[in-house]
C-alpha cells in the first residue's frame, strides 16, 4: 500500500518536472497557427512537416476545420493565417481585423466519376453535364450523351446523381462551373459550398460520394482529382471553353490557371472555372492561404513570408504526387510581388 503511494508520488513529481521544463523547451520553437480548408490539408501537412525539417525553429500548426471556420478564426484573430477553398466575400473581408491577402497555394481539379458497366471513358459536353445535374437528362442512353460518346454502349437506365452532402470547397467549384456554363443553373441553383440540389443523393465527404457511386449502379458524381486517382475511379473528359474534351490531369488543371493569368486580379480572388485555353480543364480551382496585410508580430510575419516563398517554389514539387496541380510560373511571379507587400511591425 505504501509502495503504491510512493509510486504515485514519484509519478506526480515526474509530471511536475515535465510541466516545469516543457515551456522552456517550447520557447525556442515558434508556433505559427493556421486553420481552414480541408481540401488542401494533405499537401499542407506535407509542406509543414517538410518545412520543419529545413527550419526546426518554426512549427506550423494547421487545423483543417473547414474554410468557413478558418475565415471565422482569422476574423477573430485567433490564428496567424487562414485557408479557404473559396475566396472571401466582401462582407467577410469587412468583418476582418484588417486587409486580408489571398495567396493561391496550389490548384485542384474536380472530376466527374460514374458507375457504368465496363467503366468506359466518357465525354461530357458542358450542356450535357449541366442537364444531368439539373435533372433534365434522366437516362444514360439519351441521344445527347450518345452523340458525344460514339462507340460507347450507353445503357437504357436512369441516371442516379450523387453530390456532396457536407459543405465543401469541392461543391463550391463544381457549382461555380455549372453556374458559369448554364444560365438556368445560375438562376435556379447558384454557386455555394452547399446548394439546393435539383436531383440526387448526398454523400458525406469524398469518401461518402465515392461510396454511393460505387454502391449505386448507373450513378454519377463528382470528387477531387486526387481522390479519384488514388481510388482508381473512372472519370470522364469535360468539354473546355473552346469546345475540346479535356481529360483532368495536373497539367490540364495548371493550364486553367495559365489561361486565367491575363485576367488575374491583383488580389487573386478569382474563379478559374471554364477558363480559356484549348486544353485547360474547365473544373479547376485555386485554394488560398489567407494572411493579414499588417502582421502583428515581426517573427510570425517573417516566418509566414519565408514559408510562402518556399511553398510557392520548392513546395510545388509535392503537388502532383498528392493529387493537386502546381501553380503556373506566371502566377508564382505575381504572388511573389504580392508577398512583398506584407507589412511587418
Amino acid at each position: 500500500m505504501l509502495k503504491l503511494n510512493e509510486m504515485k508520488r514519484l509519478g506526480f513529481l515526474a509530471l511536475t518536472a515535465v510541466m516545469l521544463f516543457a515551456p522552456e523547451a517550447s520557447a525556442r520553437i515558434m508556433l505559427v497557427n493556421g486553420a481552414g480548408a480541408t481540401f488542401p490539408y494533405p499537401i499542407y501537412s506535407k509542406w509543414f512537416s517538410e518545412y520543419a525539417k529545413r527550419d526546426g525553429s518554426i512549427n506550423f500548426n494547421y487545423q483543417s476545420i473547414g474554410s468557413g471556420g478558418g475565415i471565422k478564426q482569422l476574423q477573430a484573430g485567433t490564428v496567424d493565417f487562414g485557408a479557404s477553398d473559396a475566396p472571401m466575400k466582401e462582407s467577410e473581408m469587412a468583418d476582418a481585423k484588417g486587409k486580408v491577402f489571398h495567396f493561391p497555394s496550389v490548384m485542384g481539379g474536380v472530376v466527374v466519376t460514374y458507375n457504368l458497366p465496363g467503366a468506359p471513358k466518357l465525354n461530357f459536353s458542358q450542356a450535357n453535364l449541366s442537364a444531368i445535374f439539373m435533372g433534365k437528362i434522366k437516362r444514360w442512353n439519351n441521344p445527347m450523351l450518345a452523340k458525344d460518346n460514339p462507340g460507347v454502349n450507353l445503357p437504357d437506365q436512369p441516371i442516379a446523381v450523387v453530390h456532396r452532402s457536407d459543405g465543401s470547397g469541392t461543391t463550391y467549384v463544381f457549382t461555380d462551373f455549372l453556374s458559369n456554363i448554364s444560365k438556368e443553373w445560375k438562376s435556379k441553383v447558384g454557386t455555394g459550398k452547399s446548394v439546393n440540389w435539383p436531383v440526387g443523393l448526398g454523400g458525406k465527404g469524398n469518401e461518402g460520394v465515392t461510396g454511393l457511386v460505387k454502391q449505386t449502379p448507373y450513378s454519377i458524381g463528382y470528387v477531387e482529382l486526387g481522390y479519384a486517382t488514388e481510388n482508381k475511379l473512372p472519370y470522364g473528359r469535360v468539354e473546355s471553353k473552346e469546345g475540346q474534351f479535356v481529360d483532368c490531369t495536373a497539367q490540364t488543371v495548371s493550364r486553367a490557371a495559365a489561361g486565367a493569368v491575363a485576367s488575374m486580379p491583383e488580389d487573386f480572388r478569382v474563379s478559374i472555372v471554364n477558363s480559356p485555353g484549348a486544353d485547360a480543364y474547365p473544373i479547376a480551382t485555386f485554394t488560398w492561404l489567407l494572411v493579414y496585410e499588417k502582421q502583428e508580430s515581426r517573427e510570425v510575419g517573417q516566418a509566414i513570408i519565408d514559408f510562402l516563398h518556399w511553398a510557392l517554389t520548392d513546395g510545388q514539387a509535392y503537388a502532383e504526387r498528392l493529387g493537386y496541380a502546381p501553380l503556373p510560373a506566371e502566377v508564382v511571379q505575381m504572388e511573389k510581388r504580392a508577398i512583398a507587400k506584407i507589412q511587418l511591425p
Binding site: I65, S165, G167, G192, N196, L201, K204, G208, T216
Partner: protein, 310 residues
C-alpha cells in the same frame, strides 16, 4: 455534543454539495436552451414558426425550412423502435428468464459490445452491406407485395429512410436489451413462484407476471433508446441519402436534423445560415424534451393503473 454538531456540519455540507450539483445540471440545460435560442435569433426572426413546416432548404438563397429534417428524424427513429423493441425485449427476456447462465453471460456481453462499436463503423457497414441488400432484395420484394401502398413503393437507390431506420435499430438494441434485462432480473423470485404455483406456464408467467412488474423499467429503456436514435448523426448521414425532401415511401432518400447539422455546420459562413442550423439544433432539443416528457407521463400513468390493479 461536539461530535453530533460536527456530524451536522458534514451532513449539511453534503446536502448543499449535492443540491449544488443538481442545480448545476438544471442550469446547464437552461443555459443550453437559452444559448440555442439566442444563437438562432436571426433565423427565428426571419422565418418565425414557418421554419417548422416549410420544406425548402436553400443555402445559396438563404431560404430555410426544417420540415424534411423533422420528418426524417421522427420517421427513422420510429422505424428503428418498431424493429428494435421486439428484438431487444425478446433478447432481454431470453437472457434473464430462459437462457442458461453461461450462455446468457456470453450473449449479454456480445449485446453490450454492440453499443461500444463506433457509429461510423455502423455507417460503413450500412453503406457497403445493408444498402445493396435493401436495393436488390428488401425494396423490390416489399414493393412486389405491398407496392400498392405509397409507403412501401420501391426505390432504385438503397439509401433512404428505411435503411437509416434499420441501422439505427441495430444501434439501439443494446440499450433496450441491457436495461430491460437488468430490470427483469430485479423482479422478485416470489412473484415468479406465485405465478407458477397458480399453475401458469413459463410463457404465462413471463407475460402476465414478470413483464407487467418490470413494465416501467422496460419503457424507460425504450425511451433511452429513442433518445439515442433521435440524436444519432454519423451512421444516419451515411445511409439516409441526405435529400431534404419528404417522399411518401420509406425506401426513398430523406434527411435528419442531426445529419444536416453534421454536414453543413463546418462550412456555414453567413449568419442567417448558421442561425438556421442552430435553430434546427433548438428544434431537436425541443423534440427530445417532448419525447422525454411523454415518457415521464406514460410512466406516471402506468404507475397509477398498476396501483389500481393491485
Amino acid at each position: 455534543m461536539p461530535r453530533s454538531s460536527s456530524l451536522n456540519w458534514q451532513d449539511r455540507l453534503f446536502r448543499w454539495a449535492c443540491l449544488g450539483f443538481a442545480l448545476l445540471i438544471l442550469g446547464l440545460v437552461a443555459a443550453l436552451a437559452v444559448e440555442l435560442a439566442w444563437s438562432s435569433r436571426l433565423a427565428l426572426r426571419a422565418f418565425g414558426f414557418s421554419f417548422l413546416w416549410t420544406q425548402v432548404w436553400d443555402p445559396v438563397r438563404e431560404v430555410f425550412g426544417a420540415l424534411p429534417f423533422i420528418y426524417g428524424t421522427l420517421v427513422t427513429s420510429a422505424i428503428a423502435l418498431l424493429i428494435a423493441v421486439p428484438f431487444g425485449l425478446g433478447t432481454a427476456i431470453f437472457l434473464a428468464e430462459l437462457a442458461p447462465p453461461r450462455i446468457s453471460e456470453i450473449i449479454g456481453f456480445l449485446v453490450e459490445l454492440l453499443a461500444a462499436i463506433p457509429s461510423v463503423i455502423y455507417g460503413l457497414v450500412g453503406l457497403f452491406v445493408v444498402v445493396p441488400w435493401v436495393r436488390s432484395v428488401a425494396s423490390p420484394s416489399v414493393d412486389a407485395v405491398l407496392g400498392w401502398l405509397p409507403v412501401f413503393q420501391g426505390s432504385p437507390y438503397g439509401v433512404g429512410i428505411f435503411t437509416a431506420g434499420l441501422i439505427l435499430a441495430v444501434m439501439i438494441v443494446p440499450f433496450v436489451t441491457t436495461v430491460s434485462r437488468e430490470v427483469l432480473l430485479t423482479v422478485p423470485r416470489s412473484q415468479r413462484e406465485a405465478a407458477l404455483a397458480l399453475g401458469a406456464t413459463h410463457w404465462e408467467t413471463i407475460w402476465t407476471t414478470i413483464l407487467p412488474y418490470a413494465r416501467s423499467g422496460i419503457i424507460g429503456s425504450i425511451f433511452l433508446a429513442l433518445a439515442r436514435a433521435l440524436g444519432e448523426t454519423m451512421a444516419v448521414t451515411m445511409v439516409v441519402g441526405n435529400r431534404p425532401e419528404i417522399h411518401p415511401s420509406i425506401f426513398d432518400p430523406g434527411y435528419t436534423m442531426a445529419a444536416v447539422l453534421a454536414n453543413e455546420f463546418a462550412e456555414a459562413t453567413s449568419n442567417l445560415y448558421l442561425g438556421a442550423l442552430i435553430e434546427i439544433g433548438l428544434v431537436l432539443f425541443g423534440i427530445t424534451i417532448v419525447v422525454n416528457g411523454v415518457a415521464r407521463l406514460l410512466l406516471y400513468r402506468l404507475h397509477d393503473t398498476s396501483a389500481v390493479h393491485v
